[in-house]
């Protein structure tokens, strides 16, 4: 009865061991990528949150002091990046658990769920802030919105640079989701 020995979906043990090895490698890469994303979001939050520029002159119509919480979008950006960096630190624990116990699938699905939510959050913060930064650089003739970057140079450079870390973190989180999905499908 040789036919009864091979059950549905069973492969040889060598392939299973190879797959587990690759999944363990993927879990280690996952851990490293999480650290990179954490650095990106933390850097962005700090860079945006510490902006403060005062020009040395004033008139009675225009304020000549600019900081991040003058624009609610930038406040949202700082908050979103802080939340995502805290989440990434906490999910490092789950990532370590996946390195140790490569076979667990339900916790990977939970990780994908939260990673997707955090992807949406960091993308929302980064793109809302880029819309405002673009407006600050160029202004808008139709809406009569004046380009404030022409006066606030270092403020503008700061807010533009802080977007970079956030976008890098967004790409890294996409890679994390794909890595988890491939690990789930290979097990």
């Amino acid at each position: 009865m040789k036919a009864g020995a091979v059950e549905l979906g069973e492969v040889s043990s060598k392939v299973v061991a190879q797959r587990r090895g690759m999944n363990r490698g993927a879990s280690i890469v996952d851990f490293i990528l999480r650290l990179v994303a954490f650095a990106g979001t933390l850097g962005s939050a700090i860079a945006m949150g510490t902006t403060d520029e005062t020009l040395p002159f004033f008139t009675q119509f225009i304020r000549f002091k600019a900081e991040y919480n003058d624009l609610p979008t930038f406040t949202f950006f700082v908050v979103a990046n802080s939340v995502v960096s805290v989440y990434l630190i906490l999910s490092l624990l789950l990532s370590i658990y996946h390195i140790v116990r490569t076979g667990s699938r339900s916790s990977r699905v939970v990780l994908i769920f939260f990673d997707t939510a955090m992807l949406a959050l960091v993308t929302a913060g980064a793109s809302a802030a880029s819309a405002i930064v673009y407006l600050a650089h160029k202004g808008n003739v139709r809406a009569n919105w004046f380009a404030i970057c022409q006066q606030f140079n270092s403020f503008c450079e700061r807010i533009s640079g802080s977007l970079i870390g956030s976008f890098i973190a967004m790409v890294v989180i996409i890679l994390l989701i794909l890595l988890s999905a491939v690990s789930i499908s290979r097990r």
């Binding site: 091979v6 993308t123 802030a129 819309a131 809406a143 989701i177 499908s185």
Partner: protein, 214 residues
């Protein structure tokens, strides 16, 4: 009998003949039929709920097409002209005045085109519940689409917020006070796009649930 899922277990004698053989021969037959039914049951149950998830995925994709298409068309057809003018102020507003809105229209157009093109792959995963490749491909692109639609929706939301409230520190006036119909349309388009984003997130999560093997 589901195709391709049952193993071929050779039961060498028919049921009428097995009565004639001894007890010793009957026991291994019982053992193999036990493994046969267990194998068939293992093959049948995951196919059942995976197929259900694939059908849910297809239906939700249709809703996603509706949402993304609504967002694209509502934003893309905004055009409001106020019936008076001065020499300093333009009193015409359309979506391509603001680059964030142009990006919004493009992003949602790409998202709806992707959703339409992904329908065949969704049908493939309904027909073959154990096909990993189609689901994984859809999951990869769905993740990228989450990022794209969120980016478009939130960039437009930032501008819509500014249009509603203005900003006193930057001396930006709230243009919604004049352009009422324009403002309502762009706000509605942003809401539809956020709904499409949530739909994409849902698709990613259920695809990852369905990728599990047993």
């Amino acid at each position: 009998m589901k195709s391709g899922e049952a193993t071929a277990i050779n039961i060498p004698e028919s049921s009428t003949e097995s009565k004639g053989k001894g007890v010793a021969a009957a026991t291994p037959v019982v053992a193999t039929t036990h493994t046969a039914t267990k194998a068939i049951q293992l093959g049948k149950a995951p196919g059942g709920w995976k197929r259900g998830i694939a059908i849910l995925d297809f239906v939700v994709r249709l809703f996603g097409i509706a949402a993304a298409l609504t967002a694209t068309t509502v934003m893309g057809t905004t055009d409001e002209t106020l019936p008076f003018f001065t020499q300093f102020f333009q009193f015409q507003a359309s979506y391509d005045d603001l680059p964030a809105f142009t990006f919004f229209v493009v992003a949602n157009a790409v998202a709806s085109a992707y959703l339409v093109l992904s329908l065949p792959f969704s049908i493939v995963s309904i027909v073959r519940p154990h096909a990993v490749g189609a689901r994984l491909l859809l999951l990869i692109f769905d993740t990228v689409m989450v990022a794209l639609t969120t980016a478009g929706a939130s960039a437009a939301a930032a501008i819509v917020y500014l249009a509603h409230n203005g900003n006193s520190s930057a001396n930006w006036i709230a243009i919604c006070q004049q352009f009422n119909g324009f403002c309502q349309r762009i706000s509605g388009a942003v809401v539809a796009s956020f709904i499409a984003t949530v739909i994409f997130m849902f698709l990613v999560v259920i695809a990852s649930i369905a990728l599990r093997k047993h």
